[in-house]
Subunit: 464 residues, 2 copies
């Protein structure tokens, strides 16, 4: 018999991990909902015609493809089979073998949904989506082949209020999670486009962004090296210098930028957008904002056209836990051009790691059952069952040990499960009606009536 294994890059989530993950999911969902984002779910399986060509060549390679059902090989011609004997045969064969694939992100399915339902959707459309995605990436620490994304997007308006709302929502999500110390960096692609203009490489802000995006990881010198390799002149690179200047407050920084990029219309537009977003956030009355303008924030993805966001938790060396930005052509690939939108994505796995490392999960987030009832015989069980019902009616998570086992074994079970309270019911307890309640943390044991047990546990433990 073969020992069962998991496919590489995939994971089981056991009870404790799941309870903590559910805390994260619930918090994000509730916050999304409070901000008026509406839930959407799309199928895991999409037509490859929907997915292919949306993520670049590398992305196409990373799509999980589903083997056609039935007698798929019957459609293969002799020419197909002969082609396979040559090199690159797999690529030629794939379209004959697979017409469906697994969702690679939540953005393309969202765009497909908007286009397919364009006549029934009221714009602006605010949706959130929390579902797994799949990528046939080489698995490594922190990178999995199946992982969740939690996205919120507004499409159908270019109002900067949406950017402001995202800034507010990010604050709300992390505060609700208990992650107080984080930094939300904001920039605007138009400023990056302006920089490209001013240093003499107009239109090359994407190349610029991809390189600058690595600033945190590889440092300024290597970023400049990369730009040189990508054909930026020494003059262009030298004139990038103000970008790396240390600055103090926002107004000073923006003024400096306005001067440097005075000749670029698009840069000025970006700066104004940024200022207006900041003003809206201020009008909302956000207390203790964690937002920071960073002209070097780039985010690699090429489809951003306005604001870009990135969130990191302070005090841990874990990458960004959230990111997003404005795009101007989400649905263009599906024949519906000109729909502007802005979105944010939260990475549950990274957030989990941050909260675990900083010990931020609230007591009870990993906690399962609160009370275990332990009857010694059938008579005791007849006493335990109504108490079980009473406890649950009071919203207390309660279980009854199903077998009549040795007391030691049952207490060990409660310990392994980290159940904080055990109610022992033997013939004594049945006769007197006074049940023995054991605090598994302290080992203390006291007698009380069934009604008192409910009140006692309710007072001592988180109710869910």
């Amino acid at each position: 018999m073969q020992k069962p294994t998991l496919p590489k890059g995939t994971r089981d989530f056991g009870p404790e991990q799941m309870r903590k993950r559910l805390f994260i999911f619930d918090t994000i969902r509730q916050t999304f909902q409070r901000f008026g984002f509406q839930p959407l779910e799309t199928p895991s399986i999409e037509n490859l015609s929907t997915l292919t060509g949306k993520y670049g060549d590398e992305g196409d390679q990373l799509l999980f493809k589903i083997l056609n059902s039935g007698d798929f090989a019957a459609s293969l011609t002799d020419a197909d089979l002969d082609a396979v004997r040559g090199s690159g045969g797999s690529k030629k064969l794939t379209p004959k073998l697979a017409e469906k694939g697994l969702r690679y992100d939540l953005t393309v399915p969202f765009a497909r949904y908007v286009v397919m339902n364009r006549n029934n959707i009221a714009l602006p459309f605010k949706r959130y989506q929390m579902q797994p995605v799949w990528r046939a990436d080489r698995p490594q620490k922190g990178r999995y082949r199946e992982f969740y994304q939690c996205d919120a997007d507004v499409v159908g308006t270019d109002s900067l209020l949406c950017e402001a709302e995202i800034v507010l929502m990010v604050h709300e999500v992390f505060r609700n999670l208990g992650v107080q110390h984080f930094t939300l960096k904001i920039n605007n692609r138009k400023i990056l486009a302006g920089i490209a203009e001013v240093i003499g490489v107009p239109g090359q802000e994407s190349t610029l962004s991809v390189a600058i995006d690595k600033l945190d990881k590889i440092g300024k010198d290597k970023v400049l090296d990369e730009l040189r390799e990508r054909g930026f002149s020494d003059a262009a690179i030298a004139s990038l210098d103000p970008l790396f200047a240390e600055t103090t407050d926002l107004t000073a920084t923006l003024n400096q930028l306005k001067n440097w990029l005075a000749t670029s219309e698009i840069a000025q537009k970006g700066i104004i957008e940024l200022e207006e977003t900041m003003q809206l956030v201020e009008q909302y009355g956000l207390t203790n904002p964690r937002i920071e303008f960073d002209a070097t924030l780039a985010r690699g993805l090429s489809y951003y056209t306005g604001a870009i966001f990135e969130v990191k938790a302070n005090g841990v060396s874990i990458g960004s836990v959230s990111g997003g930005g404005r795009y101007d052509n989400l649905t263009g690939a599906f024949g519906m051009p000109g729909l502007s939108g802005v979105g944010i994505s939260f990475g549950v796995d990274r957030i989990y790691d941050v909260m675990d490392e900083l010990n931020l999960f609230p007591t009870g987030a990993g906690q399962g059952t609160t009370v275990l009832l332990v009857p010694f015989d059938a008579d005791a069980r007849a006493v335990a069952l109504p108490l079980l019902r009473q406890l649950r009616t009071a919203s207390i998570v309660a279980e009854l040990y199903p077998d009549f086992a040795k007391v030691k074994k049952m207490l060990e079970y409660a310990n392994t499960r980290t159940i904080p309270f055990v109610v022992l019911i033997g013939s004594d307890e049945v006769q007197t009606g006074q049940l023995s309640v054991r605090n598994m943390t302290t080992g203390e044991q006291q007698k009380m009536s069934a009604d008192e047990v409910v009140a006692f546990v309710q007072q001592k433990s988180p109710v869910r």
Copy 2:
């Protein structure tokens, strides 16, 4: 440009449907948790070696298989390619092309998890799992290729308390959902085994079950026809008669059964198990139980060995919404024999249909945003933003219309979104601080301060 489509048998769930589905998911999850079932999630992708051979030949055919990544065709030999030219080539080729597949149910991954984590799991182990599964079935009304299952199982004990707990939990789930009128049918496979013995076809209770399982759909005569076709003798079929007898109360029915099946030890065991389960349910103090013993309840699946359950909603012609039973060898296929368990599965799609048809979704379950703030200009927006924050702090789902549009357009937007309250803020409102609150249902409009708006909306609407 190709119009995007969905793969057949798959669905998008838009906002209103999603909110109702989330109500069902949340209710089931909370009830599972209150009963001490612990959350588990397994990957969507499993090795085909884990999945194959667990669901019968038909099931193997219905597994979605994932095309290997990379240059999968490089491993194909000339012999492989030649074989494809013959008939049945697909079957021969599949193992070369795919080593992973999509989860077909939640039971087999659960068994795999238990075996892989046997050293870290405290038995009895109670887990719940709510995740989608995939089957390459022919799509038809009510049958999809991707759908959710919500399962709760206990393994590692054969205590009948677990059966009783499932009966209780079923009641709790449907009552929490608001489905008051349902019938939970219960039977025991041992009784069916006893019937097989007594009518002279010992060991053939599976064949018997598959046929009797169709009683509701095709009627008694056709069930008997099927048994005849499957080789049951006329004498055997004639002696089945007491099974279809109309009976009144449980005690009478069980006594009748005890007499009929007096010679079968296993039948007597089944009857005792049933009686004990019923007694435990009674001791718990369940009010107005909806449980009904039905000796003809069979459930097709062959792995059940004890209690079997099935739940139907009354007053609708929708199939069973929940079902389950006891099995004695969940993990045997993975080399860990003898682990007994009992489980129940809830079908979200069917429950949705029932609740939709009977109009049982609570007000607010389909409801999204409660208040839309509609400022006419930037000054008004500066008044709207702090109010937006106030509303959300009071747990009211509130949005701000992001653009400055015509009032008519913004009100139409609120209507389309079925947002019940709109707060209009123009220059008048900015000056006086008296905002105009419009009830979109009645068309009534009244003036009040921002603080009053919060109190007014809070009082008028469900808070989430």
